[in-house]
């Protein structure tokens, strides 16, 4: 009987929000981290390569080389048959999967030591540049997309005029316009911002139009019987009525903006966090590659949480039970 009650409490669809779910949040973050630790630190779990420490009598190996376990064994068998000293080495993971501690060290290093090549941006400079691109691109998309979406949701004519064509455009991948954008806006930030705008403004229009249409019609009826003009219905009922839902929509669309950003930054002159990740990849500094990827995730998580908190301040009338 008690388990039944507990089940109902956690089954959010039934309308009971779990009050304290922090344990689950922590497990949600910890589980993948523990898996990563296990794969990195427990030798028999994976470790398909051997990091050669001394080549022994081998002519083909050198200290610091990574060779597959099978090749290492074959070479040692050949060396033993020839009577030479065997090569020694340690079982390791491939270079593209650094251990957690290495990434943690790289995280600190990336913020404290200057980039290897003078003139290359620091990690925080790369991140800031990416954030600036998002702010400009997504900001423009909001300025255009939200009003258009609201108009589409409020007026049938606007909806027919804009939505079908937007739906068509939406299926064209924005980065496909990269060459065109470079031709129009040059090679610096212009084409990147335009790609972000193009990729986010279309879903913004469609999502906001739907949100506008989903406003409780009874509220519009009530306003009409209170003598509201169409203008007053739009400005004093529709806008405040959909504002919290629009705020949440924008939080989700911001994620889409980040997705596009990574591709957009590769267009023209590479820049921002994508440049950082690519550059580190070229140096085979995969610990720094991980740092770049995790930094994006942290920035995204942080901004989303800040926006959620601002939303709670902006819309105190939303039931929070």
């Amino acid at each position: 009987m008690r388990s039944q009650v507990v089940m109902m409490r956690w089954f959010v669809v039934r309308g009971v929000a779990p009050g304290a779910g922090w344990g689950f949040v922590i497990v949600g973050f910890l589980a993948p981290l523990l898996l990563w630790c296990a794969v990195s630190y427990v030798p028999w779990l994976w470790h398909p390569d051997i990091l050669v420490e001394s080549p022994g009598g081998s002519q083909t190996f050198a200290a610091g080389m990574r060779v597959p376990v099978a090749a290492f064994a074959a070479e040692n068998a050949a060396l033993a048959a020839a009577g030479s000293a065997p090569a020694t080495g340690q079982a390791v993971n491939p270079v593209f999967l650094p251990a957690p501690h290495a990434v943690a060290v790289a995280f600190v290093t990336a913020f404290t030591t200057p980039p290897r090549r003078t003139g290359d941006p620091w990690l925080h400079e790369s991140l800031l540049h990416s954030c600036a691109l998002i702010a400009q691109g997504f900001g423009l998309a909001i300025l255009v997309g939200v009003p258009l979406g609201i108009l589409c949701g409020a007026y049938a004519g606007m909806s027919r005029l804009i939505e079908p064509f937007t739906d068509f455009l939406r299926y064209l991948p924005a980065p496909a316009f990269g060459a065109l954008a470079v031709a129009i806006f040059g090679i610096s930030d212009g084409p990147k911002i335009s790609i972000i705008v193009l990729a986010t403004v279309l879903p913004t229009i469609l999502v906001i139009a739907n949100t506008t249409r989903s406003l409780d019609k009874a509220l519009i009826d009530a306003a009409a019987t209170l003598g509201a003009s169409n203008r007053q219905v739009l400005l004093r009922v529709v806008l405040p009525g959909i504002a919290p839902a629009v705020w949440n929509d924008l939080r989700i669309l911001l994620g889409a903006a980040w997705t596009t950003l990574i591709v957009a930054e590769l267009i023209g002159q590479m820049s921002g966090i994508s440049f950082f990740i690519n550059q580190q990849g070229k140096y085979r500094n995969y610990d720094f590659v991980f740092v770049g990827i995790i930094a994006i995730g942290l920035v995204g998580l942080l901004t989303d949480q800040i926006l959620a908190a601002i939303g709670r301040l902006l819309f105190p009338w939303k039931r929070t039970s």
Binding site: D221, A222, A224, T225, G227, A243
Partner: protein
């Protein structure tokens, strides 16, 4: 000591009939698009509601009670006949016809005060003027102490009183109420019925009140409009009968014990729930009762 003269329902009906007509429906009809052409929802509705009259509208489901209210409010289109307010035809909703909905429909982003201020604000009043009007009507429904609450913090009965105050703050010619107490528990409903009777008796309002509760219809009304559902002669709702309630106002709940009340109530019953042949009771085999293991005797 002088005793009260006995109540004369005919004289009262004559006094009401002498008042000017506030809201009139002439040959009102509405059709819905259906699979095979247009399906009538309402036809041939003629009504004349006089100043300060309290009219309730009852009818079986499918008789178009709510549709009628929405047409009178201007929220639904009608395709024949016309609606007149003070003799002038109206199309679409307007502040002359206030409406109270079953689902309250308060604006959740406004406080109680903000909600009641809405009508006066729409009409172009400044914030201070609207606030003083709103306060007056909040006091009328006894909720001035909840002025700063959000709607979601109120009980159903409180919400509906705010909705009534909000509609009245516009000083409408007619207040339309579409099953306003339908979602409330019986106790709250009885309280709000009493409040509404007081309100109607003390301020000059004309009310059209849709309900499916026949006791409520008799308790509140000067006049009951009975709509008929679809039958052999009518595809949709139609105006079946109008009954004048021969009881003095304002009424108290004990009026339900009076013979006049019972008579009207029985008349409504016979119109809305026509006697059906009693259905033979299903016989449950004895072995199933035995299997259940309980003996109610």
């Amino acid at each position: 000591m002088r005793s009260e003269p006995p109540f004369d329902p005919i004289a009262r009906a004559a006094r009401i009939a002498a008042r000017p007509v506030v809201l009139e429906a002439r040959g009102l009809g509405k059709t819905y698009p259906g699979a095979k052409g247009r399906v009538p929802a309402l036809s041939g509705i003629d009504l004349a509601i006089r100043r300060r009259e309290f009219v309730t509208v009852v009818g079986p489901s499918g008789s178009g009670k709510s549709t009628l209210a929405r047409i009178l409010a201007g929220l639904d289109e009608h395709d024949s006949g016309e609606v007149l307010v003070d003799g002038h035809p109206v199309r679409g909703p307007g502040r002359d016809r206030g409406m109270v909905f079953q689902a309250y429909s308060l604006f959740p982003w406004l406080t109680v005060m903000g909600n009641v201020m809405t009508g006066p604000r729409f009409a172009g009043n400044g914030r201070d003027a609207a606030r003083s009007i709103a306060l007056q009507y909040l006091e009328l429904v006894g909720l001035e102490h909840l002025a700063d609450r959000w709607p979601h913090q109120l009980s159903g009965g409180q919400r509906q009183r705010v909705a009534i105050a909000r509609a009245l703050a516009n000083e409408p010619r007619v207040l339309l109420m579409d099953e306003p107490f339908g979602a409330l528990d019986p106790h709250t409903r009885a309280t709000l019925q009493g409040n509404l009777i007081d309100l109607w008796f003390n301020i000059p309002i004309t009310i059209i009140f849709i309900t499916h509760d026949l006791d409520e219809a008799v308790l509140l009304a000067d006049r009951i409009v009975v709509l008929g559902g679809p039958d052999a002669d009518h595809a949709g709702g139609w105006l079946r009968e109008t009954i004048t309630v021969p009881l003095p106002v304002p009424r108290t709940p004990d009026v339900v014990l009076s013979p006049e009340f019972r008579a009207v109530r029985e008349r409504l019953d016979s119109l809305i729930h026509p006697a059906e042949p009693p259905r033979p009771r299903e016989r449950i085999p004895v072995y199933r009762l035995a299997a259940a293991g309980d003996d109610v005797r």
